[in-house]
Amino acid sequence: MTVAHAELPDFPATWRHRHLLDLESLTAEEITTLLDWSEHMAVATDFGRRKIPVLQGKTIANVFFENSTRTRNSFSLAARRLGADTVEFASSGSSVSKGETFIDTAKTIEAMGVHAVVVRHSAPGTAFLLAGHLNCSVLNAGDGPHEHPTQGLLDILTIRQCRGKIEGLTVALVGDIAHSRTARSNIWGLKKLGAHVIVCGPATLVSRQWEKFGVEVSHNLDEILPRCDVLNLLRIQFERQSTRPFPSVHEYALLYAMTAERMRRSKPDILIMAPGPINRGVEVTPEVADGPHSVILKQVTNGIFVRMAALRLLLGVSEVNGSCLA
């Protein structure tokens, strides 16, 4: 057993997940535990100014089969602030092009003695498959358009910090819902914590079927704007679209970009969020992105605390149940 750091609370007795694969399967209590622990991490590290060595001796592998700068660095920093070592594996193409399945790649990395694998991949379900094949903890850092649980958590944490609650808020996710893992993680997390969620964007990217899950569907930003407490402006995933689902970027911006003019028609305390990287001038104009309502950089900062919390909780369970590595 590890000795809990003086400034961290006791390991939550109710926490029993070794993997973090999605938010859809977590309960509201579990999501709240992750959010609370993210706050503990912020306090314990003096908001990122010092390390807490609670994962000393552990090794975390970042296995990224898809390009990423911010998420990979965020996970690396989170691991190192907890005193863990990190191994970086990045392959932009599919591992299969080198004649190795991604499962073999991950198994090879696990065999080097890692305690957790943080995996990103362009194909949905990849993290689930790895969790079935590996003995160590698996953390989904984005599996295609499916889920990106830590992004969902950091978005929700940011809202909670700014508003003090989630319940009763109206949160709109704007943009390419069809191809967005961030949207899916946000939808489940926010719904479980009692928010009213709107998905808004072109009809070719926002399915009416979301209504079946209790999500409001809109194709008209101007119509929903006055009701929104939070706007989360999702990036247009040009790389995932086989055929362009709208006529032009110019037209998209005309209909859905958050501009200064639209800000004037919003609630006075509206929060502007974006999971990044942002396409300035497409989803959001620079004056809004850099304006007083924008919490885009706060999201980035929170990302590290959320990932520290996730790593601590997942690896804590592995310890209690006996480590995967003898």
Binding site: E24, S94, V96, T101, F102, I103, H121, S122, A123, P124, G125, T126, F128, L129, D143, G144, P145, H146, E147, H179, R181, R184, S207, Q209, W210, K212, F213, S242
Partner: protein, 437 residues
């Protein structure tokens, strides 16, 4: 080749015999002699003196099953399947004949390729193999293959499966041209531009999982187009493996109008739904895809009222290393010759959806008619292609026990009921299930 087993008579007693073509559904005995069905319920006095008796109490006796489309991998994809292994798997599944698809490498678009498969199948000496030839040269969907030469070499049907015949003009020509030889065209109904890149049925589960969609209308529109072409050409068309309520409706109406079109379905589309894909198991990546509950229900109704003529294995074995990939990259398909009969018993017969006569009709008699080959009946004088089915045997599908070269089956780990206990092909007993009791 006249083996000893063919000259020795076999009397199968106490089985419940099912033959939809003769309206037989009763307990009795059948005599196999000189490779043929020699007698049904013969008197003791008419039996040959030398005789092997088989007590089939509690079992179903039926004409051997006939499959309308199995991939046998040869030539060119031996890592997935071989003719020897595939025909062995077929026997274990109760099949006495299978039609093999043309998507080999190179594809079966020449008389030589047809000969090759037939020769290899004959040398394997297991079940019968009928060859489906390509509709188009090199299976490229542009020009007609030399269909006349292929018929001459023994091809029984024409298809560019597993893909659709996308080019409408080509399909029209194929229907016209094949009608000269009274041979059917098999089409997999799918509009490529709607289905391309898709992984699973478009619906609520797909919305949640974020996998690329294959909308139901991709199939509906192709079914509609195909039926319209049958109307104008009068050609013989079989739609391989439909999966949507739209296709079932279209087929039902076409049959009411008297169109001579048939269709099949694979077990996946009446046993499972898209919800199963929540496991992200690549063995569930199938073509046509697993559909939602409402489509599955419509297909079951179509099976019951006869709209869906045949149940096809959809046998599409994929080597383990190909399936052990991300869902996006893994190929479509499952190795199903060995589980199709059991899935029909478990999911259709036991719940009372189909009776035995309907099931044998769809697994044997109808496929024989669609292919225009012998079999599918227990008529006296016809080759004795017979299966004895133990309807109550319980077993769990495990890769270890499978005879197909590839073990990618979507029932892995599932308990099924029923299996083939013995199989005769041309009066020769080719298979005995390795079961003790």
């Amino acid at each position: 080749m006249l083996g000893l087993a063919e000259t020795t008579a076999t009397l199968i007693e106490n089985a419940r015999w099912i033959d939809p073509t003769q309206g037989i559904n009763r307990v009795g005995r059948i005599l196999i002699h000189y490779g043929a069905i020699a007698a049904i319920d013969p008197n003791d006095g008419d039996l040959p003196s030398e005789l092997q008796r088989i007590d089939a109490s509690g079992w179903i006796g039926a004409p051997g099953l006939i499959d309308l489309g199995a991939e046998l991998g040869e030539p060119g994809r031996e890592e997935d399947e071989t003719i020897a292994a595939g025909t062995m798997a077929a026997l274990a599944g109760g099949y006495t004949s299978i039609a093999c698809t043309a998507n080999t490498e190179p594809p079966i678009d020449t008389a030589a390729a047809v000969e090759f498969v037939r020769q290899k199948a004959m040398r394997s000496d297991r079940c019968r193999v009928h060859v489906i030839g390509c509709v188009s040269k090199h299976r490229q969907g542009k020009e007609l293959a030399e269909i006349g030469s292929l018929v001459d070499a023994g091809a029984v049907a024409f298809s560019d499966a597993p893909g659709p015949i996308e080019n409408t003009a080509l399909l029209r020509r194929a229907l016209e041209y094949c009608s000269m030889f009274d041979r059917p065209v098999f089409d997999h109904p799918e509009v490529k531009s709607l289905a391309e890149g898709g992984i699973m049925h478009e619906g609520l589960v797909q919305l949640v999982l974020g996998l690329a969609p294959i909308p139901a209308e991709a199939e509906d529109l192709a079914t509609s187009r195909d039926l319209r072409l049958v109307e104008s050409t009068g050609g013989r068309l079989h739609l391989t493996n439909i999966s949507t309520s739209g296709s079932v409706d279209l087929m039902r109406r076409a049959k009411e109008r008297g169109l001579k079109t048939t269709c099949g379905i694979t077990p996946a589309n009446f046993c499972l739904t898209d919800a199963a894909l929540r496991s992200f198991d690549s063995n569930l990546k199938l073509q046509p895809p697993l559909r939602s509950e409402d489509h599955k229900e419509a297909c079951i109704k179509g099976l019951q009222d006869g709209t869906i003529d045949a149940i096809t294995s959809g046998h599409r074995p994929c080597a383990l290393e190909k399936k052990m990939q991300e869902l996006d990259l893994a190929p479509f398909g499952a190795s199903t010759l060995e589980t199709t009969l059991a899935s029909v018993i478990t999911y259709l017969i036991r719940p009372g959806i189909l009776n035995w006569t309907q099931a044998i009709e769809k697994l044997s008699s109808a496929p024989a008619r669609i292919l225009g080959v012998e079999g599918g009946s227990l008529q006296i004088g016809k080759p004795a292609d017979v299966v004895l089915i133990d309807p109550d045997h319980r077993w769990v599908v495990q890769p270890k026990g499978m005879l197909s070269r590839s073990k990618n089956n979507y029932f892995t780990g599932t308990e099924l009921f029923g299996c083939a206990r013995m199989v005769w092909v041309g009066g020769v007993r080719k298979y005995i299930a390795p079961i003790q009791n």
